[in-house]
């Protein structure tokens, strides 16, 4: 369960969740094909079922993965909203002018403008 208290940003949980190659791989798997079971995800990894469950729990706590029941199966879905929030908070505000400047510089150096 995601806990949420006033003044504490969920960004910490998202960054922590993303700071692990296995968890990023799990997100990539769900990006490629959403709505997978634990068994399906586990088959893509050299890891015990329990290990995969632990990683999925961290992703769920960061709200990056949402699970839904479908009959007897529990399906895992990639939730793009926290990534969007990180984008709005960190990329748009601080980085985009610099990125634009670098892209323009690159274009200029490559003689495109």
């Amino acid at each position: 369960m995601v806990t949420y208290s006033c003044g504490v940003s969920d960004d910490d949980r998202v960054f922590k969740a993303l700071a692990d190659p296995t968890r990023r791989f799990l997100l990539d798997l769900l990006f490629a094909r959403d709505g997978r079971t634990l068994t399906e995800l586990e088959s893509e990894l050299e890891m015990t079922r329990f290990g995969v469950m632990k990683h999925l729990r961290v992703l769920e706590e960061a709200n990056l993965v949402v699970t839904r029941r479908s009959g007897r199966e529990k399906l895992h879905f990639l939730n793009r909203v926290p990534i969007r929030e990180i984008h709005d908070r960190w990329i748009d505000k601080y980085t985009e002018p610099h990125v634009t400047a670098l892209v323009e510089l690159k274009d200029h150096l490559e003689g495109k403008s």
Binding site: M1, V2, T3, Y4, S5, C6, D10, R33, D34, G35, R36, N63, V66, R68, S70, L75, F77, N79, R80, V81, I83, R84, E85, D88, D92, K93
Partner: protein, 160 residues
């Protein structure tokens, strides 16, 4: 529910009723996301329309951008409806998709809003709502994070 389903969840520091109103009333729905004006007849079988404002129409959008039908309305917790984009013959032809809005109170006065969009047989809809089209906004993730910003701060995302 299948791999053609997309799920979005956001935690919003607002009462369930405020979130419900933001989704279902024209005055609030025009203040976030793509600014479409929601027009709901909140009864099973009632019509839904997402209407374009003057700016959107000037941008080439039809007067009604989205249509659909209310399947279940249980305010302020659950709304099930169909959803069909109308801006091209191709996208219209995909037919209605199914959308479920669920609002749940969480500990600490916060609510979760979970949006489940069932998109089997509707690849153009899926692409649009996933935010995968360049220059066509960020899809549901953009709409929900803008909704959160509006309800928590009274402001919309910059540049929107």
């Amino acid at each position: 529910m299948s791999t053609d389903t997309q799920v979005y969840r956001v935690f919003i520091n607002a009462p369930a009723q405020a979130i419900w109103d933001a989704i279902t009333t024209p005055e609030i729905s025009r203040q976030y996301g793509y600014r479409a004006i929601a027009d709901y007849d909140l009864r099973p079988g009632g019509a839904y329309a997402g209407r374009a404002d003057a700016d959107m129409q000037a941008f080439g959008m039809p007067e009604t951008v989205v249509d659909g039908e209310v399947i279940e309305a249980d305010p302020p917790h659950k709304l099930v409806q169909t959803w069909r984009f109308l801006w091209s013959d191709e996208i219209k032809a995909e037919g209605p998709t199914r959308l479920t809005w669920e609002i749940k109170e969480q500990p600490g006065g916060v609510c979760s809003l979970t949006l489940t969009h069932e998109l089997a047989g509707a690849p153009l809809h899926a692409e649009q709502v996933a935010g995968a089209i360049e220059g066509a906004g960020g899809g549901w993730a953009y709409v929900l994070s803008d909704l959160k910003t509006l309800l928590e701060t009274g402001k919309c995302l910059p540049g929107a």
